[in-house]
Amino acid sequence: MSDETRTTYKAESPALEAWRMFRRNIPALVGVVLLTVIILATLYGTFFYTGDPFEIVWAPHEPPGVTPEFPLGTDYLGRDIIAGMLTGGGPTLAVGAVAAAITMGIGIAMGALAGYYGGWVDNLLMRVTEFFQVLPALLFAMVLVTLLSPSLFTIAFAIGVVSWPQTARLTRAEFLKIKNLEYVTAARAIGARDKRIIWTVILPNALPPLIVSATLTVGVAILFEAGLSFLGLGDPNVMSWGLMIGANREYILDAWWPVTFPGLAIFFTVFAVSLIGDGLNDAFNPKLRER
């Protein structure tokens, strides 16, 4: 009974306590700083660095660091890469976030219902899930975007619709595992209804892998948007990192920079989101708090 010695433990609000925990997590803080810088740059960068990302301003394939006006050089048409990165970041991040939200929303709902109720509900929902899984994701997304006419939201929607099955399967597996634990039976024994058990008892305990999966989904969605843009299905009037990579990909052997800089931007964004996701996961796990 070693816990007998602990005397006081002041209760804080869960959010405050999570923040206290999060604050001590250096990698997560790095992620927050990184993501904040990226978001601020895409939101406000154009105030300081004006320039139309579609306008041809210089000779094509100007290497970075040669001309002071265009520190990151120009692309195959002679368009300014910095202007493209700053204006293209917002749409890219927005698509990533919205697509991840849609993915998690559909996936968690389907997986939770299938895993909790089992039986014919499980069978029905999992067959639907498999139907979506066997469709080639990129093709299906292309069809959806074409049908709905390309815009930022339809692209995000299409990405969400093709990527939720994995989340659904993950959620279902967690629910199958947790629903047979005794604290779930205990909740039923004290008269909790299904809704309460699913959302307030099982889901919080199923969250750790789901949070990791959500952060990965943001990255996948950004790359997916890049893929669609590359295939010419992005919104052609909106600059995005994916569009830059797609347009310049053919010339990568002659000029590495028009592809590399947006690629790095995507990499750092996904990296930052992953760090934050890990940090959040730890911060909301009571077992790690006492360390």
Binding site: R6, E182, T185, A186, G191, K287
Partner: protein, 323 residues
């Protein structure tokens, strides 16, 4: 004294996967017609080896496992036909303590919330009175008020079981179903928890349906004992009768198998029976007595005819040769 809980001919079975599409649905017969009565303020122990259906019978009694047949009369009202909402309301009076104190508490909830949750769900009192009640319960089960805001993992096994007991007592239940509440604990802690349960029974007038495989534990706490074997009760008696003069050969073997220091001096001493083999499969229960393959006094009638529970002295015994 009126019966608090009167279970009649309770049956539970689990559907097994069909071997082929057109084959009849196979079932595992986990509880095969169990009847028992629990008087108010008393403790009924159900003992049996693993797989005897004792936990399933208890879970079916409080409708956490669906029953296939029978009646469960709680204060004279049959629980089985109740719809979900009516059953929810009844759960106020029937609470449960689990075997494993490590998995029976939600790891993401503070213990104050765990103990308070039944009141939230049943809409008992307001926020202040609920907190007050939680503090009383903590005091009652021997926890300190400064531990209210801790999480379950910060407690030891015995303390967790106290939290579990506090949660079960929150709604002032009349019946506590205890599913092996001490078998996951150290022996020293077992005694503490058993004494706590005995004190609560005395002070609050609780009734217990107490599931255990540990005869010593049952002997310490229970007034009456039922012995289960392969989904059926083979002997039911008061504690004194069962431990002093066991009638069913299975009960005798169980008692003989329990280590004891003063065994030979007790007056109902029978030569230890050694059991070999395993119980038959509950998927295809035998036609006659389920114990026949392991019984030292089995005769032809035991294979043909299933013995029923009938009075034998002060006990109820299901054996053709009980005297």
């Amino acid at each position: 004294m009126s019966a608090l809980l009167d279970v009649r001919d309770l049956k539970v079975r689990f559907a097994l996967p069909k071997p082929s599409l057109f084959a009849p649905q196979p079932f595992l017969e986990a509880v095969r017609g169990v009847s028992f009565t629990l008087e108010k303020g008393r403790a009924l122990g159900i003992v049996g080896e693993s797989g005897s259906g004792k936990t399933t019978a208890a879970m079916a009694t409080i409708r956490l496992v669906p029953a296939a047949g029978g009646e469960i009369l709680f204060e004279g009202e049959d629980l089985l036909p109740l719809d979900d909402e009516a059953m929810r309301a009844r759960r106020r009076d029937i609470q449960l303590i689990f075997q494993d104190p490590y998995s029976s508490l939600n790891p993401r909830a503070r213990v104050v919330d765990i103990v308070r949750e039944p009141m939230d769900l049943m809409g008992i009192g307001d926020a202040a009175s609920r907190l007050q009640r939680v503090k009383e319960l903590f005091d009652l089960v021997g926890l300190r008020p400064d531990q209210l805001n801790l999480f379950p993992h910060q407690f030891s096994g015995g303390q967790r079981q106290r939290i579990s007991i506090a949660r079960a007592l929150t709604t002032n239940p009349k019946l506590l179903v205890c599913d092996e509440p001490v078998s996951a604990l150290d022996v020293a802690i077992q005694a503490q928890i058993l004494n706590l349960l005995a004190r609560l029974k005395r002070e609050l007038g609780l009734s217990y349906l107490f599931i255990s495989h540990d005869l010593g534990v049952v002997r310490h706490l229970c007034d009456d004992v039922a012995v289960m074997y392969l989904g059926q009760i083979v002997e039911q008696a008061s504690r004194e009768d069962l431990f002093n003069t066991p009638k069913h050969p299975y009960t005798q073997a169980l008692l003989a198998a329990a280590p004891s220091l003063a065994r030979r001096k007790s007056k109902g001493y029978v030569r230890p029976l050694k059991l070999s083999g395993d119980p038959p499969s509950p998927i295809n229960p035998p036609k006659g007595c389920a114990f026949v393959e392991r019984c030292p006094m089995a005769q032809e009638i035991c294979r043909q005819e299933q013995p029923v529970l009938k009075p034998c002295g002060a006990s109820q015994v299901a054996c053709h040769f009980a005297t």
